[in-house]
Subunit: 410 residues, 2 copies
Amino acid sequence: MIHISANRLWSRLMDMAAVGATVQGGVCRLALSDTDKKGRDLFVNWCREAGCSIRIDAMGNIFARMAGQNPHHPPILIGSHLDSQPTGGKFDGVYGVLAGLEVIETLRDQQIVPEIPIEIVSWTNEEGARFAPAMIGSGVHVGVFDLDYAYSRTDKSGLTLGAELQKIGYRGSKMFSGENYSAAFELHIEQGPILEKEQKTIGIVSGIQGIRWYDLIVKGKETHAGPTPMEYRADPVKDAIPLLQYIYSLADTYGPLAKVTVGYLDASPGVKNTVPGQLTISLDIRHPDASVLEAVDADLKRATENFFADRPTTATLQEIWYSPPVSFHPRCVEAVRQATNDLGLTSMEMFSGAGHDSAYIARIAPTAMIFVPCKDGLSHNEAEYAAPEHVAAGCDVLLHAVLRMIPSLT
Amino acid sequence: MIHISANRLWSRLMDMAAVGATVQGGVCRLALSDTDKKGRDLFVNWCREAGCSIRIDAMGNIFARMAGQNPHHPPILIGSHLDSQPTGGKFDGVYGVLAGLEVIETLRDQQIVPEIPIEIVSWTNEEGARFAPAMIGSGVHVGVFDLDYAYSRTDKSGLTLGAELQKIGYRGSKMFSGENYSAAFELHIEQGPILEKEQKTIGIVSGIQGIRWYDLIVKGKETHAGPTPMEYRADPVKDAIPLLQYIYSLADTYGPLAKVTVGYLDASPGVKNTVPGQLTISLDIRHPDASVLEAVDADLKRATENFFADRPTTATLQEIWYSPPVSFHPRCVEAVRQATNDLGLTSMEMFSGAGHDSAYIARIAPTAMIFVPCKDGLSHNEAEYAAPEHVAAGCDVLLHAVLRMIPSLT
């Protein structure tokens, strides 16, 4: 059974981490910055050395292709992104890109020329840390955003994505959106604590959970805390408590995959001795099953109405955003599952909690993701870390999942 | 039975409201501003015209004295403050000062020279809106703060109270703190809704409720809302809910006079898709009985410990401030009660929910307060309003309460 080179992969990860390295041991490689350009150049050089042909599309997405015996057969796509958060880590994104390169290097080492092409991709601005929205490179590729919209996105200084792309020399002349893929794989650190807690090496990712965002706004009457007896108050904080308790209980009602987060609260005017006139609360509800998210949505709307029916305060639940669940392709997920078994690695089936380029790619190609553990579940953090043996194991699974999707080899 | 002149008092209130009048019908007369100086000058002129002698102390507190037949007898003190909130109203403070002048004018009209002097006072910077802390003029007078501390207080622009006092020409050479008073009265709008709701004209104020301020800090672990299952979270918002519910229930436990307010909440980092690492909540607990505040304090401490004993989050309850309850002097309160009865006015006994200069004056003199209703319980608001008949009635009660405290007349 063939294996990737753990040392080569790790060494390239560390070389890439030197581009935009931070004092705290992390990485700052914001999309389309000079360090992003350096990272891209380094990656492109490596790919050229590995015999790949390089194409850059109009979004700066980098495609590096290893030719197959049948050049007309849709390739297998492997990739992720090279950009990072401002205080990001060494693994998020870059691992999935360099693992693609490692798969190609391994095949070359073994003198295997696959029946079909293998294409590595690095998507532009996955993080969304410099230009919102996130995942805009893959988003334009699959047609979620159009190119003009993407080009007009600005960073905090008012610089546009289009101009910055031009400036670093990664603005190609057209998109390659019409092209087909046999399959697509993205290898990524988990960005959560589950694999570590469960002591599993491989996460077989069968989809990305759906996300619903709401703002819950409770209005009362702003009054002085001193002279106003409780019975005359319309206190939005006091009145929101039972509803909040109910909302958290929905996580129990809908089982271990349901997640309820209140990340933001604001009581206005926010003064110690004033009964607030308004409370604003953000709600982030996640579940891999769209029908559960529908049910939670109905529960929330009903509860918001019922809990305030006989109160002096009023509540409104505003839907802000809905990202439906993504189900990866059974054949790709099965390839990951079998590769994991073949390699004798511990594993568990799971959903991705965070968004990834694969959420978009799944719309145009059979797709799956592979997760490996990250220390303390940390990512988007300079302390982000994945153990070398997990990094190697994940890439081995990627290699064998890819091999299983190549017609001549299965 | 003699009565004050409702027209004169109302007309002076409106003349004073023109000093610093805002477009929305309110008043902006921030302490030691040019408009405060104009208001002070106007008041001092009126007092001189009414035959009073004027003294200004080192804090800019203005004392206007109507001589009594016995100049050596401790005077009766009547007063409040002329400064306002930035978007304040026409009545808060100024009513208690101008009502003192109206009492003196009425006695002059009736050619009554009282046995003992009557002294009107306007305390500096009661509101605390420009210089913190509030009630600093009366506070220095009674020895709660020393003069150097007061002088060094700065506003938002870094200007000191001492320099600003000098600039408007109201920095006297010394304090008159050693002087005694037979009694002290402060007439004020209620700043709450009770009198209006109960349809009573006069609030016989027997004290000022005590206030305890706390910060409740709940610490958890900041994590991405996506990949982190509920069971692995240490979510300070989720875990604080039952304690908050308990804290509000204390208002029921300790009866209708207990007040619980959460005016400020902050979840850090305050991002929709991040489980907060910390929740900070302000608690404002009020009750007129110190022993109840003690009991609530013990309940809070016990609950903070118990509710978090088996949670992954930790909570600390930090005491920020304690202002003990003030009981006014029974003789002064009785004088107000009898004056109200003599005048045939509807009334109720109550506590002040807000702080007043009288909280400090009660430490050095037998003191009481009189409240009149204000529309919708509003104060610190440009829409603050008190009906002319209530304004007149309150001043009549003040007059007769003062008369009841004058030896030769009782």
